[in-house]
């Protein structure tokens, strides 16, 4: 497995686990019938984003150590990266349109903020999945 592919896998796991935890707790609050304006999501959201950024840095360093410093990337890595990112861009655009629509109908900040974060997360996960599939299946 190339260095870049390992990084993609690590990022996928971090995203799914950390953001999965955040959205699970937010959904739990909504399901518990708490008024969305009462849900203190801001601190949790910022904390989650910062956690993901920190874990990404730690994860990349860990992969570099495991790869014994061989962090080379080549044309295939870059091609696969673009191939995955192109799907992520579409997912992100759809999500942002959803956020815009929510803003236009005057939805609560809670929903707008969370839909925007969700689209960022889904975009990254979609891109990552497409990359690992490409790494495995090829061409």
């Amino acid at each position: 497995m190339s260095f870049r592919e390992k990084v993609v896998w690590v990022m996928l796991v971090i995203m799914v686990v950390v953001y999965g935890g955040y959205f699970a707790s937010v959904l739990q609050a909504v399901n518990a019938g708490i008024e969305v304006s009462e849900i203190a999501y801001r601190r949790a959201m910022l904390g989650t984003v910062i956690t993901v950024v920190c874990l990404s840095i730690v994860g990349t360093i860990a992969v570099t150590i495991v790869s014994r410093g061989d962090d080379a990337e080549d044309e295939r890595d870059r091609e696969i990266d673009r191939y995955g990112a192109s799907l992520g861009a579409v997912v992100l655009a759809v999500g942002v349109l959803g956020g815009l629509a929510l803003a236009m109908i005057g939805a609560a900040h809670f929903w707008i903020a969370n839909v925007l974060l969700l689209s960022l997360v889904l975009a990254e996960i979609a891109a990552g999945l497409r990359k690992v599939i490409r790494y495995r299946s090829g061409v």
């Binding site: 497995m1 190339s2 260095f3 592919e5 080379a72 990337e73 080549d74 044309e75 295939r76 890595d77 599939i133 299946s137 090829g138 061409v139």
Partner: protein, 76 residues
């Protein structure tokens, strides 16, 4: 959705003929990762034309001795 490339190559045989050159050594000489050399040998990746020429230079053979394309495969 796997698009299997129709390009075949003789890199494994050429490596063997070149004193059993390792995948890692070939990778280093053409600026690719070893994983990409593996992917090319398995037909899972078609390198850029630039890299294809570089591989041919390493073995000191013409391009078509490294990479082959089936006869009569003009794009439809």
């Amino acid at each position: 959705m796997t698009r299997k490339t129709r390009i075949t190559n003789s890199i494994r045989a050429l490596r063997f003929a070149a004193g059993e050159m390792t995948q890692a050594e070939l990778a280093a000489r053409v600026g690719l990762t070893r994983q990409t050399i593996i992917a090319i040998e398995q037909g899972r990746y078609s390198p850029s034309l630039e890299v294809a020429f570089q591989v041919a230079r390493v073995f000191d053979v013409p391009l078509e001795e490294v990479f082959q394309y089936p006869e009569g495969s003009a794009p439809s």
